[in-house]
Amino acid sequence: MSNNRKVPQPNTSSTADIAFLLLIFFLITTTMATDTGLSLRLPPPVDSDVEQKVEERNTLVVLVSQDNKLMCEKKEIELWELKDIAKEFIENPNNDPKLPKKVLVNIDFFGEVEVTKPHVISLQNDRGTNYSKFIEVQNELIAAYNELRNELSLKTFGKTFAELDEDRQKAVIDYYPLKISEAEPKEYK
């Protein structure tokens, strides 16, 4: 007698509206931007009494003074000069005895090569240095490394550094390891 009675269906026409509302909420609150920055590693803590001895030819002292002037090896320079100075220092193309010593190391894909492994760029600043100036200098130094890595990748593999696979990237990084030491601040009078 009730064989034609239907099971009542809930009215679903509003689900789309509800979902729309939620969608718009998430659309507005979404921030797609990822965090970007200059990445680097700090050295592990050491006892302050123990001074690490580095040969003079192996260090490039870059100093940003209190009034935001840039000094490189005791000479005042402009910011745009720094990248080329750093590149020449890291690469030491002509085996200059004043530039970092080259040592023979074994790197995958390259075999036995001579690289300036013991080099250190010492970035020093004063307590009164402006942070934005410091970042500009830091940026130039990292740019020097990135350019050298890129040039090496193009020469050896015919591709830019970003296009290489992980193993080859690692080999190129071993060839030009990032060695920027941010020394503890000193008081310059």
């Binding site: 920055g37 990445s39 680097l40 050295p43 942070y131 970042i135």
Partner: protein, 159 residues
Amino acid sequence: MSKFKKSSKSGSQELNASSMSDIIFMLLFFFMTVTSMKEVDFKVKFDLPQATELTKLEKKSLVTYIYIGPPTARNRARMGSETRIQLNDKYAEIADIQDYIAQEKGSMKEEDQPYMTVSLKIDKDTKMGIVNDVKQALRKAYALKISYAASKRQNEQLR
């Protein structure tokens, strides 16, 4: 003729909207998964410096933030305009950083701990003195992977 009559009789045909909610839900889930809410209330103001050699911080779960800058206008009356450090939701001192890092490290999975990155969001007019103090504190806390947050510089202004 009768063939066509049938369809024209019902007038304007309604669209089948039953799949619409599914499509909207799909979009909704996409946005829900990619959304990251603003982590904290900023109590300090920071204009990030600009740079060109940027790397992206991939995994949000591995990143810890430290904010440094002058207090925002709302808090200035109470806190003054001296550069301050903000950890999580409150102002902090240099001495608090080590505990903060240890606590953040503890809340991470053990296999992730060596990959922990500290993102330093520092106002560009800050003096290096406070930055150096923070850096020394991070070294002591063995949070050695750091990233100076910066935004992309569009045009090459040098030279």
